[in-house]
C-alpha cells in the first residue's frame, strides 16, 4: 500500500513535470515567433505627431537652446545660427535625394514668403554627401545642390555639409527633420518626416511667439 502511494506520487510528479516542460517549450517558441514577427513588421521611419512621440534622441532638445553651428552656404558664405537671434528660425535638414523633402519644400517656400516679414527665416541644411578631398567633385556636388535649390525656389540659405552638425541635433536617422527655434534661440518644436503644411505653419507660429 505504502509502495503504491509512493509510485502514484512519482507518476503524478512526472506528469506535472512533463506538463510544465511542454508549457515552457511552447512559451519559448511563442516568444521567438513574436520576436520574428516584430523583426518583419513594417519599418516606420516617422514618429506620429506630437512632442511626446518624437524619437528619444530628438525629444530632449525641446525647450533647450538650439545647438549653434556655422556652415557654408552654396555660394561659399559662412552662415551661423547664432546670427539669427531675434528671429524665429526653422532648421530644415533635407537632401536632394529625399522625395518627401521635395514634397514639403514648396510648402516651406510659401510659408517663408508669408512669415518672413514677421521675423521668420529658414535654414536648409543639406545632408547630401560631399567630397571635401576632391575639389572638382566638391564643386560639382555643390553646383548640383545649388541647381536643385534654384529649381525649387529655395530663396533662403541652403547650407552644405549637414553631416557635421547632425549629432547635436539627435543624429537624424531620417529626413526631412525640422527644428523650430524661437527668437531667443530655444527649440520650441521638432518634426520628423513629412507632416503637413498646417502642422509646419502651427510650429512656425509657435516659434514666432504665437503671432499669426
Amino acid at each position: 500500500m505504502k509502495r503504491n502511494t509512493v509510485v502514484l506520487f512519482v507518476v503524478l510528479f512526472l506528469l506535472a513535470a512533463f506538463a510544465w516542460a511542454g508549457w515552457a517549450n511552447w512559451e519559448s517558441r511563442r516568444q521567438a515567433a513574436a520576436r520574428a514577427a516584430a523583426m518583419s513588421a513594417p519599418a516606420d521611419l516617422v514618429m506620429p505627431g506630437g512632442e511626446g512621440d518624437l524619437p528619444p534622441t530628438i525629444a530632449p532638445l525641446i525647450n533647450k537652446p538650439a545647438p549653434n553651428f556655422t556652415l557654408e552656404d552654396v555660394h561659399g558664405k559662412k552662415v551661423s545660427l547664432d546670427a539669427y537671434k531675434g528671429k524665429a528660425v526653422l532648421i530644415n535638414f533635407w537632401a536632394t535625394w529625399c522625395g518627401p523633402c521635395k514634397i514639403e519644400t514648396p510648402w516651406l517656400v510659401d510659408l517663408r514668403n508669408q512669415y518672413a516679414p514677421k521675423g521668420f527665416e529658414i535654414l536648409a541644411v543639406s545632408e547630401d554627401d560631399l567630397d571635401p578631398g576632391d575639389k572638382q567633385k566638391l564643386k560639382e556636388e555643390t553646383q548640383q545642390i545649388a541647381s536643385f535649390a534654384q529649381q525649387m525656389h529655395m530663396d533662403y540659405p541652403v547650407l552644405l555639409g549637414g553631416d557635421a552638425v547632425t549629432q547635436p541635433y539627435g543624429g537624424l536617422d531620417s529626413l526631412p527633420t525640422s527644428f523650430f527655434v524661437d527668437r531667443s534661440g530655444k527649440v520650441v518644436a521638432a518634426q520628423v518626416g513629412l507632416t503637413s503644411k498646417d502642422e509646419i505653419e502651427g510650429n512656425i507660429r509657435k516659434a514666432l511667439g504665437g503671432q499669426s
Partner: protein, 170 residues
Amino acid sequence: MSVFCRRTCLTGLALLAAGLACAQTQFPWQSEGASHAGKAASVVYLFPEQVEVTAGKPSTVQMHFRVAQGLHINSHTPKDSYLIPTVFSIPSGAAVQLKGASYPAGAEFTLPVDPSTKLSVYTGEFVITAQIVAQRGNHLMQGTLHYQACDNNACMPPKTIPVVMDVVGK
C-alpha cells in the same frame, strides 16, 4: 526502498531532466535571428551563400535581396537624376571580378501625398543577376549593395551593405 520504486524514481528523474532540457533547447525551426530582436535592416542579402563557377570564365549568379516591409528603395534606374540608384559592386582587384550586372525593372510607385510623381522602386524581394569571373580555388567574394531607402513619409541616408559569398572556381 524496493527495486521497483528505485527504478521508477530514477526513470522519473531522467524523464524530468529530459523534459527540462527540451524546454531550454532552441530547436532548428527557431531561427537564430529570432533570438536577437532589434531594429530591422532596410535591405538584407538572402542567398546564395556559396556558388560553384567555371574557373576563368564569366558565370551568372542570381543574388536575392529583401527590402523590409513598408520601405522601398530606388531601382537601378530611378526616374529622377537626384535619386540614388541601387548598385551592386565588387572592389576592383578582388579575386572575384564583376563583369556586369543586370537589375530588375523597378516597380512604379507613388507617394500617397504626391500621386503625380512616379518613382521606380524595389520592394519586397528582388534579384540582381551578376556576371562574375573567379580563378580556380575557393574565394570569398566581398561585394556591396549601395541603396537608399524611404517609407511614405521619410527617407534614410544612403547605405552600403556587404554581400558576401563563397565562390568556388573549378
